[in-house]
Amino acid sequence: MNQNKTFTLDGKTIPYTEGQTIIQAAMAAGEYIPHLCFNPELKAHGSCKLCTVKANGRQTASCTQQPTPEMVVESDTQELNDERRALLQMLFVEGNHFCPSCEKSGDCQLQATAYVLKMMSPHYNQFYPDRPVDASHPEYLLDFNRCILCSLCVRASRDVDGKNVFALSGRGIKSHLIVNAKSGQLADTDFCDADKAAHVCPVGVILKKRVGFATPIGSRSFDELPISATPHPQGACPVCPRSDAATLPPHPKSRGA
């Protein structure tokens, strides 16, 4: 593999290998680019647009864009951060994000990203959508109020678990997450704790019951250090939820098993 190829990210030289996207190379080099719908363990999607950078002057999602030699990439600029903050504000008003009542608070990627981008208010008018909670499953709760439509659970369930427990339905502002059951209830799907999909939600939609406050507020992922400075184990994304399921044996129903 040719290791000599590089591009610059905010002036720093970043090496990359063929096939890597900008964000992957940046992560491997220990650089943080804000992101929500990207998780290095899953196929990139390019929908949240938080990871938008300027590559040779053109705005593009860094999770889907591959670098070219000597490409000049800007990420941590006021212009881009202002845009990212506005995108976060859109996500906050689109759903019902009431952090004080959310057991994901402190571990939530949306919240932590909003902290580093200094989002002081949702700015826009709240949509206050009506999204009933699904508490049917014995082990898991689905609180759709916080869904940001990143589709990580959809991809994890489809591509890793081979199950299709989750899907997006609707269109435009009416887009919403659904589960694979005639009743529309998680309890009637084959979803289980061993699923990758159970462990990739960047916000507080897919929650394991009865463990919500096992880690007290104050000792959570982004309490000590901001999401942008969270240490980096082995080039993996430090901030994306990493599933223990990845080390579990493949689920009997998973594709190819």
Binding site: F98, C99, P100, S101, M120, P122, Q126, I217
Partner: protein, 183 residues
């Protein structure tokens, strides 16, 4: 050389549809309150018991808007305060009171005053002294222009102190890691 005595800044505070938790957090500034009092004097506030807000430099609003009275108070603050600060989750995104927003107000009133178990001949209070509830709870920036926000439920005393001292020093307020919190 005599330094001219700087006039103290006037600050007003109020709680709309909130729980006074943010006001308790203001008290969490602790002994620094004494420093603060060297620089500011309070207008309308639970601390002073002044009932109406006069011309002020800074107005601090806790809580969102859930009824007509909240709107009147908010407008009084906006009209009188040069700088308006929304403090806490409820003022900023509706917070806990806004959790009723997916229900219709009529069904809520119906449930509370007519249908609830144990009620006999319940009726919906209609005393003109009582402010009427709005059909939805709103954050304050949806009704007036707000200059600054201090998020948190409640924000820490340190966060409040930071924003106030930044403003008093003429700096753009900024909350760093650990001070900016939504919960």
């Amino acid at each position: 050389m005599n330094t001219p005595v700087k006039p103290k800044l006037r600050v007003a505070t109020t709680s709309l549809a909130g729980c006074f938790g943010c006001h308790m957090a203001i008290l969490d500034i602790d002994e620094r309150l004494l420093d603060l009092l060297q620089l500011v004097e309070f207008d309308r506030s639970p601390i002073t018991d002044i009932k109406h807000c006069g011309p002020c430099d800074i107005g601090i609003i806790e809580g969102g808007l859930c009824n007509a009275e909240n709107v009147h108070v908010l407008r009084e603050f906006r009209a009188n305060c040069k700088i308006l600060i929304a403090i806490g989750a409820c003022a900023i995104n509706g917070g806990l009171p806004a959790q009723r927003n997916h229900l219709s107000l009529s069904s809520i009133l119906e449930e509370v005053y007519h249908a609830q178990h144990g009620l006999v001949d319940g009726f919906i209070p209609n005393d003109p002294e009582l402010p009427l509830p709005l059909d939805k709870v709103h954050p304050i920036h949806e009704v007036v222009k707000v200059d600054y926000f201090i998020p948190g439920c409640p924000p820490s005393g340190d966060a409040i102190w930071k924003v106030l001292t930044d403003l008093l020093a003429g700096r753009e307020p900024e909350l760093g890691h650990g001070l900016i919190h939504y919960d």
